[in-house]
Amino acid sequence: MSAWLQIFLDFVWTSAGLALVAFSLGLILGELKIVNIAQGDLMMVGAYSMYAMRTLPFLVALVLTFVVGLLLGFVLERGALRWVYDKGFMATLLATWGVGIVLEQGAATIFTVSQKGIDSPIKGLIEIGDVAYPAYRVVVAAGIIVMLAGLLLLVYRTSLGLRLRASIDNVEMAAVLGISPQRTFAMVFAVATALAVLAGALIAPTIAINPTLGLSFLAPAFFAVLISKPGSLGGPVLGAVAVEFTFTLLQAYLNITVAESILFGLLALLIVVKPQGISWSWTTAREEAS
């Protein structure tokens, strides 16, 4: 029993982090129509930012890292990405690829490639059932779930969210209604970048920090986005949970590389069956079924 509880807690912890990254990725794909391959490297920036500020109190460093993320996103969008919007899908994809290389190599140049680590601000274990689980993970997972719930409420229940969804649906039409594409693009990319950076910052105390740490999150985050409808913002969050759930189950029985291979095979199968992704919305699913 306790073995399964342990697996379940691990699943909650990993899927919370992945959901945040996938939400950010889905936001960028939805609004800017860009496949952001630098997503993992943005997480890496978050982890290194926390490492650089390891002498400051954790929460202060976290807030500063979020601000670093906002600035980084703004600079990247205004400085590089906006020049390639009209050059097509492939150019934007390659531009983010280039940004990723520069971030990775920049980190390697500044911090060297040797592994770094930071201390967890909350030490100790929490007794859950008969499992003692690291308190930091419980607190962070809860925090991320609350934050994502807030973000989704913001997206689906406020006028700001309505403007965002209008812009995602049809950027030209939204522009006619007074929603500036330039400002929305810059804002969305800055916020999405900050969220990815934040995700990296939050997991930093639990991993070994190195310039390529983002790579291992890249594929699952893309899977999460790929299996949800294009432009959906709630979809990637549920997609992340689905991917992590499947992966956790596979991993419980199999070697990790075999589990990943099977996950990839399942994804390929899903693309064949549902090339447009899964609609996680109950109403559209019913419409499709009828």
């Binding site: 531009a95 790579l215 594929a219 590389t257």
Partner: protein
């Protein structure tokens, strides 16, 4: 996955036609010959270490050309190309470690790469998939392959990799690498790129919708291109194995996948020379500069990559080599004007066509019958379902119910290119052409797909005489529409579908259009379905008028009959 380049009608910054680059001494060929000689002679001047570096660079050059087959030529993105390269490298290395034949090991690697390439493309390039799917799939494959190579140590030697003993002397192997790399590129050029298949790949990259409606099976050709790209990548991998003292998981991994993208992007896409030069120069530079600059060399490479994507999207070679060019594949076979298989009866029968878009019914049980050589004009208020019906007939949109029969052959389940083969041709409301190609090149493509040359009616043959070498971006709207019709006529269609051929034309051009199209029908003998809003043209053009409203046919007959129909009047005037 098609690159959309911005359509610039009358753009002052584009050349009206490309400078003739086909001569024997164009800059590309001169530079190519000089570099070829330099590569052939360099072992005479360089030490063994540097010769080895350039030898490795040449195999990387072949790898870059392989990626370019998919990316630069066909427009398929692959950000995990090293998987295929690595299959070849590991094939040779595993064979050598077990004292087997490196040729057999390499061949197995190449075969596996081709199969994996077919599988990946067949999943990721299907009609309804999003363009990002292929990027994610290839990325996931390369990350996964690196893990497997690291984990499966009994076969791959794990993280430390497999030790490959040197086979023969550096100098001998240099010449083997050189001849093999250049030779494979030559074979690819002669058998694919300079042939109809190469033209098809270019057409798919520039405008897949138009390519499909010219009769090109775009899914199949994309899969072929990607599988070929995977196989050639694996051949490059085989050749490179003896240059490496150890074959380790990074041979299939993301870093090499990234590097090959940089080589192609910086060197120049859709050229033969660009990827080669990019690969050799950056491989050489990496070793020479990395020792002094360390990680900042890779940082520099990243910056270089971003700059080349932002500023020189066609790479260095693209700066002095001119844009896409097609091989002249004009078929020798000539055919008389007139539709294939002269026959009476019905050209097209469409029955009970239904199409819903998310609950909104666009076409609601429409019936349409067109006799051979008949001109039918489809009218109806905006939103009546005219263009949707046309899209269903041409196969651009699949219908939810109903049957479509062309000359007695059921075509409702066939993809667009099969319908072209069955005798259908179409134009679009906004002319859909290949940006960056000339008028002549458009006709080369159309004739290549038709497999023959038919004489064009004078109104369309004029284009070929007056604007032959002009880029289509420079043509007037009416000329672009004419070019689309001319391309459609090349296939000797039984039925021609025209979507608002008069929209945006000047009054005198529109007036001439009805006459031109009737003359075309008399001369070519095809039936025509024409969606048109201009009632003056409909009156002069149509043998029969069909009026659609809310996705149903509400009236058909002569113009006078239809315009007298009270239901039609209600539909147009909005009376209850």
């Amino acid at each position: 996955m098609v690159e959309t380049s911005r359509w610039r009608p009358f753009g002052a910054d584009t050349l009206s036609s490309r400078p003739g680059a086909a001569g024997l001494f164009n800059p590309g060929r001169v530079v190519g010959l000089v570099l070829f000689a330099a590569a052939a002679l360099c072992p005479l001047f360089l030490n063994e270490f540097k010769v080895g570096l350039i030898g490795l660079g040449l195999t990387y050059g072949l790898f870059a050309v392989a990626l370019d087959l998919a990316w630069g030529r066909t427009g398929i993105i692959s950000i995990g190309q090293a998987v295929f390269f690595g299959l070849g490298t590991y094939g040779v290395a595993i064979a050598l470690v077990h004292h087997g034949s490196p040729l057999l090991g390499g061949a197995i690697g190449v075969g596996l790469a081709a199969v994996l390439g077919i599988f990946t493309a067949a999943v990721g390039l299907r009609r309804a998939t999003n363009p990002s799917t292929m990027a994610v799939l290839t990325l996931a494959i390369t990350l996964l392959a690196e893990k497997i190579a690291r984990d499966w140590w009994s076969v791959t030697g794990g993280s430390s990799g497999l030790y490959v003993p040197p086979l023969i002397s550096t100098y001998s192997y240099y010449y083997i690498s050189f001849v093999a790399s250049v030779g494979v590129v030559g074979v690819v050029w002669l058998t694919v790129l300079n042939r109809p298949l190469g033209n098809r790949l270019t057409a798919i990259r520039l405008n897949d919708k138009r390519a499909e409606h010219l009769g090109i099976p775009i899914f199949r050709e994309r899969v072929v291109a990607f599988a070929l790209s995977a196989a050639v990548s694996a051949i490059a991998g085989c050749l490179s194995a003896p240059w490496m003292s150890s074959v380790s998981p990074d041979r299939v991994g993301i870093v090499l996948s990234t590097q090959v993208l940089v080589w192609v992007a910086v060197g120049g896409k859709a050229t033969l020379l660009g990827p080669f030069v990019g690969a050799v120069a950056l491989t050489y530079g990496q070793d020479v500069l990395a020792s002094s600059m360390g990680d900042s060399y890779l940082l520099l490479l990243g910056v270089l990559f971003i700059l080349s994507v932002l500023l020189v999207p066609n790479g260095i070679a693209g700066l002095f080599l001119t844009g896409p060019q097609l091989a002249d594949t004009t078929p020798a076979a000539k055919a008389p004007a007139g539709p294939r298989g002269e026959r009476g009866g019905d050209a097209l029968v469409a029955e009970n066509i239904v199409k819903r878009f998310a609950g909104n019914i666009a076409v609601d049980g429409a019936n349409l019958q067109v006799k051979s050589r008949e001109i039918v004009c489809l009218i109806g208020p905006n939103g009546a379902g005219k263009t949707t019906l046309l899209n269903i007939l041409s196969g651009a949109v699949a219908c939810d119910a109903g049957t479509v029969t062309l000359c007695g052959e059921r075509i409702d389940a066939a993809p667009p290119h099969r319908r072209v083969a069955a005798g259908l041709a179409r134009t679009f409301q906004i002319p859909s052409l290949f940006p960056g190609l000339t008028v002549t090149e458009h006709l080369i493509l159309a004739r290549q797909e038709a497999g023959m040359v038919v004489p064009l009616p004078e109104a369309y043959a004029r284009l070929e005489h007056e604007h032959a070498g002009q880029l289509v971006e420079m043509l007037s709207l009416s000329d672009r529409r004419s070019l689309e019709i001319a391309m459609a006529l090349c296939s000797r269609p039984v039925l021609l579908l025209l979507d608002e051929p008069a929209a945006g034309l000047a009054r005198h051009e529109a007036d001439a259009l009805a006459k031109t199209l009737r003359a075309l029908r008399d001369q070519v003998g095809c039936a025509i379905i024409c969606v048109e809003h201009d009632m003056e043209i409909v009156r002069n053009l149509a043998d029969r008028v069909v009026c659609l409203h809310h996705g149903r046919v509400i009236s058909e007959g002569t113009m006078a009959e239809v315009s007298a129909n009270p239901e039609v009047r209600r539909a147009y005037l909005g009376l209850a």
